[in-house]
Structure formats: C-alpha cells, structure tokens
Symmetry: C2
Subunit: 381 residues, 2 copies
C-alpha cells in the first residue's frame, strides 16, 4: 500500500506582505502531477491546509480545485485534518458529503476514534485541538498541556487499536526536540506546546504536520513531511518535499522524498549595494526569487530598496549587516530589561502573525501596561 | 413533481446586535420536518443562505447540519444559489462533491446555462452577480444595470431552452415593484437594482430570493418565498412561510404556503412605561418575543430600557413617540438641506449594515467631505 504524506500548505499565506498564492498554485500542480504518476492509494494532509481561519477567496478556490483533481479526477482517497492555522468549523463544512468519494476531512476533533481503513491500513485522524478542548471532549480534568491531551487521545485510540495491524497516526503537533522555523505559530503561550515522541510508539507510522522542515526530527517512525513551500527566510536552506511511503501488511515501510520546485525560490543574498546592482553580478542570478538581502555597506544609502527592486522585483526583506560592537552598545538597555522586553516582543510577533496588522505604539503601550500588571500579580502570588 | 421554494435564510444574522441563530435553528428544524412530511422531489433555496460573506462558525455548522439532514438523510435533491449576502467563492467550496448526492450549489455565476433536470423539470440556476461581473462573463459591454444583466442571462438561457418543457428559473433579484423591508441590502447604490418581471416570461415558475415578504409581488408565475424569519421590524406584520409547488409535465402548477413559527416572534408594542411594567398587562403578553417598544410617555424617564428588560428580556429597540409638531420644528434645517442629508444617511445605513460597526462622527465627517466633492464634481460636469 502506497500513500503520500504532505502537510502545512498554508494556502493564503502572506510572507512579508506578499501573497504566496501563485507559487502555491504552481507547486500544487506539481503535486497533482506526482499523484498522477505515483498513483498512491491515499494522500494524507496533516493540517494547516489554510494559513488562517478565514483565508482569502482565491486560496479557497485553489484548495477546492486541487482536492477535486486529486480526489475526483484521479480517484485518490484523501485524508486531511485541520491544523492550528485552520478553522476547524469552517473547514469541516461539507465533510459528510466528501466521504462518499473517499475524501475524509476532520476539522473538529470528535469523540470517535474509529480509523479510516484503506487497503488494510488503519488511519487515525487527530485534528489539532487546544488542550482545553480535549479536556472538555474527554471529560478529563487532568488535561492541561498538549502532552496531557495527546497522551489521553492516544490512550483512547489504544482501547480499540489492533497492534497486529498496520496503524498510521495523522496529527498536527510540535514534537519534542523538533527543529522550528519562523513561520510556525507557537502552539502555547507560556507552555512548551510540545509532546513527547514516545507517545506515538503504538503506531507503525506517524504522519505529522506543524513543523516546516521535512527533517525537523529524526525518528524511524515519526515524521514531518515539511511544508509545501518555504514560508520564512529561516527555511531558506531547507529542501521542500512530500513523503512517499510504501507499507506492507505488517506495518513495515519504505520512505522516500519527492521534491517540489517553485519557479521562484526563497533565499538570502548578501553584498554591497553597488555590487548587487552590477549587471555582471545579477545576470548570473535568479533575480525574480523571493529575497532577503543583507547589505554590507556602512553609512547611509539613498533609497536602496527601490534601487534593488529594479533588478530584484521580489525583495521581501532588506537589512544592513550591523557591526557587532554597535549592537552591543544599542542593546545594553535591552539586556538589562530583557525580561519585560521579551514578553512584549513575543506578543508583537504573535499579534502581527495573527492579524498581519501593524503593532502600533498605542497598542504596544497598552500591552506593556497589561504585561506589567500580570507580572506584578505573579510576583505577589 | 413537487418542490419546495425557500430563500433568504440569512444564517448568522444580527438584528439590533442580537444573533438570530437559535431562532434560525428552531425554524430550520421545523423546515426539516416539513420536508420529511411533504417528501418533495427537490428543495430550492434562492440565495442568501448566509447573512454575510464570512458568517460566524455556528452559522456554518447549522447550515451543514440542516443541508445534510435534507439532502443525505431525507435523500432530497437540493438546488441552492448564492445571494447578494453570500460570498460566491466561499459558498462554492466543495460543490463539485455535493452534486454526486444531488445537492446542486451554484456560488459563482458561470457561463454554463445547462439546467438541472429532476423528474422532467428543468431548473435554471442563476446565482446573484453584479452587473459588472455579468458584463465580463458574457463579454457584453452593453451590460450596465441589473436589468441589462438579467436580460442578457435569460437571453443565453433561451438559446437552448425548450418552451414545451416545464422550466423553472431560480434567481436572486429585486423585481420591479416588489415590496421591500428594512433587512434587505440595496443591490445598487445609485441605480435602482430592479429587473422587470416581464423578463421571466419564458419560465413556467420563477423562484426568487431577495425580498423578504412572501407577497412582495403579485404575479401568477414569478414569486418570492420570503425569508425564513422576520429580520426587521418592518417585517413584523408579515407571515413567514415556505412555498410548496406541484407542477405537471406542461409546467402548470399549484402553489401553497406552509408557515414557519419560531417560539419568539418579532413584533412592535406601544404604551406608557408604567402600563407596560404592570403585571396585569404583561401577564397576558408573550414577554420573550423580540420587541420594538414605542413609549407614549412625555418628558424624561429614568433608564426605561433596563426596567423594560426585566420584564421583556428581548427588547431590541426602544423609542419614544414624538409629537409631530416637534419633528417639524426640529427638521426644518434638514428639510432645507434634504439632498445632502439623505446621501450621508443612506451611506450610514449601508455602512452599519455591512460592518455592524458604529458610524462614528469622524467617519461621518470624512464621508460628508467625499460626498460634497462628488456632488460638486457632478454639478461642474
């Protein structure tokens, strides 16, 4: 039995203010071609189909188009779960109809732990859910962390799981020790959000979503497929792919990657402004890639972004390499106040990720006040 | 052949800041019971399934639940189109899967005018679309108004329509002369948005959505079903219902209503505060209805809303009956400046309807400035 494992499509994603939809469309068409060629018995999507609960309409249309091609035109069963970026309720709409054509979509976590059976393999779908939701669902007051929640859920599955059959777990979680990228949203503010890899021991294969690197963890049976595209510059050196698994009736499997290659790569370059604008240099470059450019120049430059965009239209981020001694000088205040600073910074990052709006000075001040109160309260307890 | 005609469910609707979801759920369960009892060959929903393009998640779950009961559990074909309140793209998601179980959902208007055939009747689905969208779709530069658009669309349908068969048109439009209510969103700012009833002549029956009264127009073959519930006090005296049509192979049909009865009605009452708060009065009243209360008292009253809500928990709107001579005095300024005043008022109404946010003084001033500029420009032309 052969299945494809993918995750973290993040349709509708904005990277530094630029919609990735066209690159997503391109790579998803490559994905459809791979499905047509590999003829798997199932395609698994382990969460974060969309980048947010209300994605832009062209992302909605793209997902509809791609899933229709795979499921209806290529007659391939699809098993998909919601991730932390998806709206469980919105994604669930219509799932009762889809299953008639073997498109199994789990948006909201339910109390039913019956697997989907395809060609002798049991697929357990566990969509992303907050620990509080799992606590309520399982009526288990002892559930507080993601670790507690996952342990309880797998405990439920184990009540009926037959260990002599091949069992595949499909989940969306941050497995302990996994390598993170800048484009994953933290699962827990204040807690680790992590779950231990040992929890997945009962399964022949665990198909995970959430971390964006295909080698976020190294484990023989628990794997991330990685995201569809690079969604942050911290992923610039990753190779994006999907995983192809062939499993026998005992749950033994082989695993290989097939890469996805968008026309425009996301990468970082470094140099002096003059050098980067020199045709001798850029003629050898893939100038339309999504770029983070680090300028080595010292002193002031006149409108460097505008000049660079004449040559590199998709510059997403520009920065100057700052002398380390400078940073130390500037940061002396920050270091002293590092505790307070880091909370507001964390929130700022979180806010911008959630809303893509600017975190203005007024907002910052209001939040700083709240954090101060909370910290004061914590000290007093 | 028997079919049910309904429209304007407006799931997720807020009336005076109160979600109607629970009343909608109640009435939709009555609707499901009627479907189970009548056993129609099809259920038609002529647009505005949701109240807005991104409805609240409980509205999404309610629609999913109800359509599943009707289409899958009761095995009744469903034909639904998007109205002006729906997001065509979001509503369309999954429609390719639904049609396998005879759930036909047209979100976006397409260039295909092939009818759905059920039991010898041809159902033509024409989801709501702006004239500009129709102009582009049909590549017909002469389309400017809703009348132009509808005429062109029906022209397209007529190219292949067989007048010897029973043909049903399903659309979402404002038919000329139709009686409006306060809860319908205007289709055209600046134009009438109307279409002539004569356009629908080629059809045996025209199942319309948009106007909320089941007798918005009186025509033997062109009909509104009316909305699911009363959504404004201007509808307080309407009787809400669904239409049951039985049609023969020649397109002749009988038409009858079945009423929908929510536990809490929406209605207006009038009286003196003291009288309304008197147990002798309110013990005979259905005090939990959604109410607009008009107070007859003169002079100041202390916190009347709060007092009234102790007895009538669902007061949605409170006003005082003002002496007509007072109004004339106050409005003398307005009458003189009636032209400018009415545009900003129209916009204010539109703004609050679209966003449910407050139209603050700053917003009003900014808009007044724009209107003034536009009017000045118009005078100069």
């Amino acid at each position: 039995m052969k299945f494809i494992h993918t995750a973290d499509w993040h349709l509708g994603k904005l990277v530094h203010g630029v919609y990735m939809t066209e690159s997503q469309r391109e790579v998803l068409h490559q994905f459809v071609d791979i499905v047509a060629e590999e003829k798997p018995d199932a395609v698994i999507i382990a969460g974060d189909l969309y980048d947010r609960s209300v994605p832009p309409t062209d992302a909605v249309e793209l997902l509809d188009e791609i899933l229709f091609k795979i499921n209806v035109e290529l007659k391939t069963p699809v098993i998909a779960i919601a991730g932390n970026h998806d709206s469980a309720e919105r994604l669930s709409f219509g799932s009762s109809w889809y299953k008639h054509s073997q498109f199994y979509l789990a948006g909201k976590l339910t109390n039913s732990f019956t697997p989907i059976q395809i060609q002798g393999i049991n697929f357990y779908m566990v969509p992303y859910a907050e620990p509080g939701v799992v606590r309520q669902l399982l009526e288990d007051e002892s559930i507080h962390s993601h670790q507690d929640a996952m342990k309880a859920l797998i405990g439920k599955i184990e009540e009926t799981l037959n260990p002599n059959e091949p069992n595949v777990f499909i989940g969306h979680a941050f497995v302990l020790g996994g390598k993170t990228s800048d484009s994953e949203r933290v699962l827990s503010v204040g807690g680790s959000g992590c779950v231990g890899v040992e929890l997945f021991e009962p399964f022949s294969y665990t198909a995970l979503g959430h971390l964006h690197s295909p080698d976020a963890i190294h484990h023989s049976k628990v794997k991330y497929s990685g995201s569809l595209l690079k969604y942050s510059f911290s992923e610039a050196k990753q190779k994006k792919s999907i995983s192809i698994i062939e499993m026998d009736e005992k749950g033994n499997f082989s695993h290989r990657y097939r890469s996805l290659n968008p026309t425009y790569d996301m990468r970082e370059i470094e140099g002096y402004l003059e050098e980067l604008l020199d045709p001798q240099f850029y003629e050898k470059e893939r100038t339309h890639d999504y770029l983070k450019i680090t300028l080595l120049d010292e002193g002031a430059l006149i409108d460097p972004m505008n000049k660079l965009r004449q040559v590199y239209p998709n510059v997403l981020h520009l920065e100057k390499k700052i002398d380390l001694t400078d940073v130390r000088k500037k940061d002396s205040y920050q270091v002293i106040h590092s505790k307070k600073k880091s909370e507001i910074e964390l929130f700022e990052q979180f806010y911008m990720e959630m809303t893509t709006a600017e975190f203005t000075l007024e907002k910052k001040e209001a939040m700083a006040e709240i954090i101060e109160k909370v910290l004061k309260g914590a000290e007093e307890r």
